[in-house]
């Protein structure tokens, strides 16, 4: 039995520091590396600080208009997927739950595929994916209200069924899509990618992300109680169904926002909460912020690999699976969480 070397609270702060280091390091990597001094200068002057210009305009464009949105997008998407995954694992008392368990990804994929088929702009695709994602989860929720027996099980089963329905619909769209231009675009979208992130996209997804992430962070203690089951939670004075409803709402909002700009990026929402739980324990007081930070770090690092390892840029959705699946196998073949607290 091992004792933790670092307390969970301190570990959350360490993750925060690691995220900042990763963000800064991301600018110094790639086809157009920017030294740290100039990077800080550009960022500072953009924030209105009086700094002497020691960089070229091209450098500023690369940092501000290309690299920074992409870095922010990776961090935000990673944080949202991991935060939503951690929440779902708690409220469904199911360690295998991930952000797409209620159909958020399948719905977004369908919305995106349909809007590519009818030729919408990239903004149109994003909005359609977001709307379809929310609509799908709403549909799942409505269907599950009529399910007999256990409410939570009904919700999860409805999610699986409706997801597979929308996946089939997406496959059908791919079948009828023009194989010369539309099919590759749909396929590429579904594989998930963060390339071409723009400030306008961040402007669109940031409000729903914050509207979801902040309540999830604030409610994190109650999630602990909900994992004990509805009856026990109720006897302790916690209305578990109400917490679950709010958590589903917030998690759906952030997942829909994330997949609408990134496409399908699997594994982050499942693996990161488990990794974080291993690192700092099951208590959501630390697990929730830790998962969000961990998700941000993970996706940023993977995106840097995807950006730099190959000239073509492997879609990040493929890379997360390449890294996530073996990691998860390693995790489940280990002897679980040995730590005493």
């Amino acid at each position: 039995m091992k004792q933790r070397l670092v307390s969970p609270v301190r570990m959350v702060w360490l993750l925060g520091a690691l995220l900042i280091v990763c963000i800064l390091a991301s600018f110094t990597l790639g086809h157009y590396p920017v030294p740290l001094g100039q990077l800080l200068g550009i960022l500072g002057s953009r924030l209105g600080l009086p700094i002497e210009v020691s960089w070229t305009p091209q450098m500023e464009t690369a940092v501000w208009n290309i690299r920074l949105p992409r870095v922010l997008m990776s961090v935000l998407v990673g944080a949202c997927l991991a935060g939503a995954g951690a929440s779902y694992q708690g409220i469904f008392q199911n360690p295998m739950a991930s952000p797409d368990i209620l159909g958020a990804s399948a719905g977004a994929g369908f919305g995106a595929a349909l809007s590519i088929l009818i030729g919408l702009s990239s903004v149109g695709i994003m909005v359609a994916a977001f709307a379809a994602s929310l609509a799908t989860v709403a549909l799942v929720f409505t269907v599950s209200r009529h399910a007999k027996g256990d409410r939570v099980l009904g919700l999860v089963l409805s999610g699986i069924m409706v997801s597979s329905l929308f996946q089939s619909a997406t496959s059908f769209i791919k079948l009828v899509a023009d194989p010369n231009n539309k099919l590759p675009q749909i396929t590429y979208w579904l594989m998930g990618s963060l390339s071409g992130a723009k400030w306008s996209e961040i402007g669109f997804i940031l409000p729903p992300m914050l509207a979801g992430l902040i309540p999830l962070l604030l409610m994190r203690w109650q999630l602990n109680v909900v994992t004990m089951g509805d009856d026990e939670a109720r006897a302790m004075g916690v209305n578990a169904p109400r917490i679950r409803l709010w958590t589903v709402l917030c998690s759906t909002l952030v997942t829909a926002a994330a997949v609408s700009v990134s496409g399908m990026i699997g594994w982050v929402g499942l693996v990161i909460p488990h990794m974080t739980r291993r690192l700092l324990g099951a208590d959501y007081r630390c697990l929730m912020p830790g998962s969000m930070l961990g998700g941000g770090i993970f996706l940023l690092v993977v995106d840097n690999v995807s950006r730099n390892a190959t000239t073509a840029g492997i879609p990040i959705g493929i890379l997360t699976a390449f890294i996530g699946a073996p990691f998860f196998l390693w995790l489940i073949t280990g002897k679980g969480d040995h730590y005493e607290h």
Partner: protein, 264 residues
Amino acid sequence: MSIEVSHLSFSYGQRQVLHDISFQVRQGEFLSILGPNGVGKSTLFRCVLGLLSGYTGQVLIHGTDARSFSVREAAKHIAYIPQSSRPIFNYSVSNIVLMGRSGSLSTFQTPSKADEERCAWALEKVGIPHLARRCYHRLSGGEQQLVLIARALVQDAPILMLDEPTANLDFGNQLLVLEQAKSLTRDGYTVIQTTHHPEQSYLFSDRILALQNGRILTQGAPSQVLTEQTMAQLYGAAVTVVSLYQDKVRVCVPKHITIQEEAK
């Protein structure tokens, strides 16, 4: 009066599970509910706890209709100690106990230093302060039960309801948990337990309520309930009730053994 249940009946659909149940529990009393499997003990528990509300009749808790309580208010009156709790995630003992404070926190609050101190007090009270940092999963059944009692204590509810607290425990731990529950009644807590052990309930309770087919068979002082006639009616078991140590203890001995012994 801690709890007054009057004319409580409950049905799952067409099947009536509880028929016209009435009983009262005084403050500081230890009540055991006896009865064979499937007679409605758990249903009765769930009605009193407010987990089921579709009953007829009335449950008064400290004089107030239990149905008028919010979830939060109910938790201030009654704490529930389940038979066993298997959290799916690996929580520490202090985490589990701290969850008992949740009813006193708003939805967006996390427990404070004062809440943590209350937990330390509760662990001390049930005699397991040394387990605070251990994993709940790794404790023995008896230790887990004590943790759940500590969790109920930090809820600051004067009524404790234990659902078959000794069902999964070895003999030593059964006595440990029951003695702990008994000592809490001396501090003014009201304790209600369901159990399958007539002898233990005789030893520890102030009153016993015997349930049969959803009706009250008999209730009263342990000496009135733990009789050969009641055991035969309740469990269909032919036993001789043997009284020991000036009737402080009663033991149920299967009849065929006493008959053989008397024949000698």
